[in-house]
């Protein structure tokens, strides 16, 4: 077991309710524990309204815990004196809709928004923009494009570049592939994967697409009605179809296939998460018998 002190992000017993004291009061987080370590991608899945996005917003101080503690890089976010700008620089957050995030007229200015807020020198900002564009697979000349003319997939990459330009250590992603076609989605997966491989970095993503969470995450938390009901490796989590379906979550297609095979009495290993894993599982089945 890893030492809790090494976590880039450590959340303990966080509680949050919306519009407290009004007729619309709604509890959205009810004592959540979660941690993220370096070089891993952690996925949060849950039905809508389970508090996923609220939890994500606690990770860079957009919301402060009403109870419990959130520590990012050792800094307690809940405390009144916490230097939130410092935390937000290290914890980059990519929002669900790139429209909320890409707001400057030119791509270059938009990506430079973060570095400029950090007070970096002009030359450094330029380098940051160049680097961020390269990371998401665009040449430096892309900076002169008009943001209003970008496609959804391009806009999302620019949104990510804008966050990467601040050189964050922890990347938060809220439904990063919503509305993207398969090709754009694959490109995005690569960007995410490249990011987390670097030392001292990690990714925390929220999605209701089981397939992509299964494929990308090293560890998964299942959030239901503001509580963590299940956590573990992708394979582990998707070996518990009963618990998932009880909570309105479905299995990704590969895991579902394997489960159907088991129901038919075929001796296969459970919890395949990706196409390749499912194929391997089926291959094993035939190989073992011959």
């Amino acid at each position: 077991m890893r030492n809790h002190k090494d976590a880039l992000l450590a959340i303990e017993g966080v509680y949050h309710s919306y519009l407290p004291g009004t007729p619309f009061e709604r509890r959205s987080l009810d004592g959540v524990d979660l941690s993220v370590y370096e070089k891993e991608t952690v996925g949060i899945i849950g039905p809508s309204g389970s508090g996923k996005t609220t939890l994500l917003f606690h990770c860079n101080g957009l919301l402060r815990p009403q109870r419990g503690t959130v520590r990012a890089f050792g800094i307690p976010i809940g405390e009144p004196g916490a230097e939130l700008r410092d935390i937000r620089r290290r914890v980059g957050c990519v929002f669900q809709s790139p429209e909320d995030q890409v707001f400057e007229r030119y791509v270059g200015d938009d990506i430079a928004f973060g570095p400029r807020n950090m007070g970096l020198a002009v030359e450094t900002v330029r380098e940051r923009v160049r680097g961020a564009l390269a990371t998401v697979g665009y040449p430096f000349s892309f900076k002169d494009r008009l943001t209003s003319r970008l496609s959804l997939g391009e806009k999302r990459r620019v949104a990510i570049a804008g966050v990467l330009a601040m050189d964050p250590r922890l990347l938060l992603l809220d439904e990063p592939t919503a509305g993207l076609d398969p090709e754009a989605r694959r490109d995005l997966f690569e960007i995410i994967d490249r990011f987390k491989r670097r030392s001292g970095r990690a990714v925390l993503m929220v999605s209701h697409r089981m397939e992509e969470i299964a494929e990308l995450s090293d560890r998964i938390y299942v959030l239901v009605r503001g509580r963590v009901v299940l956590q573990g490796t992708a394979r582990g989590v998707f070996s518990r179809p009963d618990l998932l379906s009880e909570n309105g979550l479905s299995l990704p297609a590969p895991a579902q296939t394997v489960r159907l095979l088991q129901e038919r009495g075929i001796p296969v290993r459970s919890g395949a998460c990706s196409v390749q894993e499912a194929a391997d599982t089926i291959e094993e089945l035939f190989r073992d018998r011959t």
Binding site: G46, G179, G248, L249, L261, I266, V275
Partner: protein, 286 residues
């Protein structure tokens, strides 16, 4: 019986010189849609899916060509009300489709526009809420519902016009699996009762469940047929950078263990039964 007929439809968002330069969102689309079909429209971002669907109830009018709904041309403004009560439309983002501040009012909005009697409206509201399972939400303000509930509400408010055809423009792409299933199940049930359904999606897994798949690319119809036919045309799909359904991709990897064409195995149920058949029959190499 033919419900919608599209003849040589081209559409451009531009006008003037840009139009002459030929920047078209749709180009030369010919389609015939029969009553009671379940159609999936698939294609990459920017392939013209939304543009096509918006032509089906006259939200957009062809730059060239013609769209007819039950014989009524969408170019005739006097027929628009009749066309729109025949073809109901559900969009992607439920947040921006809700007009009122009370669930029942939302469902009543369409029928009220049709000028129906209060008793008839109340009856339709009751019916639409029952079909979509929203009765429990009566008396709630829509903006406090979950995204999934909101989308069910937009389906209900379209149903209250009693359309013959339901057009869904990526209607489930923002929903979580459970809500998606609720919307899908509702639509499927309506389809079984005779409703024509036309749904655009990014997901081949979803498209596989339709009776007919139309593939759009660059504003043109690139393929049109039953899911099995479409999935067998791997080269075209690869060229268009579209993905095969997840289970077909799994099947392709273990193809030499199976006895059937892999493109038939477009959902977990079909793949599981193909694998177990092969396993029971002895699994000899083909």
């Amino acid at each position: 019986m033919e419900l919608i007929r599209i003849d040589d439809l081209s559409y451009s968002y531009e006008s003037g010189p840009a139009l002459r330069a030929g920047r078209y969102a749709l180009r030369g689309v010919d389609l015939s849609i029969r009553k009671g079909q379940y159609i999936a429209v698939i294609g990459a971002n920017g392939s013209g899916k939304s543009t096509l669907l918006k032509h089906l109830n006259g939200l957009l009018v062809p730059t060239e060509g013609e769209v007819r709904v039950s014989g009524m041309s969408t170019k005739d403004k006097t027929l628009l009300k009749e066309i729109r009560r025949t073809v109901g439309m559900v969009f992607q983002n439920p947040e921006t489709q809700l007009v009122t501040t009370l669930v029942e009012d939302e469902v009543a909005f369409g029928p009220e526009n049709l000028g129906l009697e209060p008793e008839e409206i109340t009856e339709r509201v009751e019916w639409a809420m029952a079909v979509t399972g929203l009765r429990a939400l009566q008396g709630r303000p829509p903006h406090l519902l979950s995204t999934g509930q909101k989308q069910l509400l937009t389906v209900a408010s379209v149903l209250a016009m009693r359309p013959d055809c339901l057009v869904l423009d990526e209607a489930t792409s923002m929903l979580d699996p459970a809500s998606r299933k609720r919307v899908d199940d509702t639509v499927r049930r309506l389809h079984n009762d005779g409703m024509t359904v036309i749904a655009s999606t990014h997901s081949m897994d979803e498209a596989a469940e339709a009776g007919r798949v139309i593939v759009l690319a660059g504003g043109e119809v690139a393929a049109d047929g039953e899911p099995r036919e479409i999935f067998s045309r791997r080269r075209i799909l690869r060229e268009l950078r579209l993905e095969l359904p997840t289970t077909v991709r799994i099947a392709d990897l273990v193809k030499n263990r199976l006895f059937v064409e892999t493109e038939r195995l477009f959902n977990p149920r079909l793949l599981a039964s193909a694998v177990s058949d092969a396993y029971r029959k002895g699994g000899t190499l083909r």
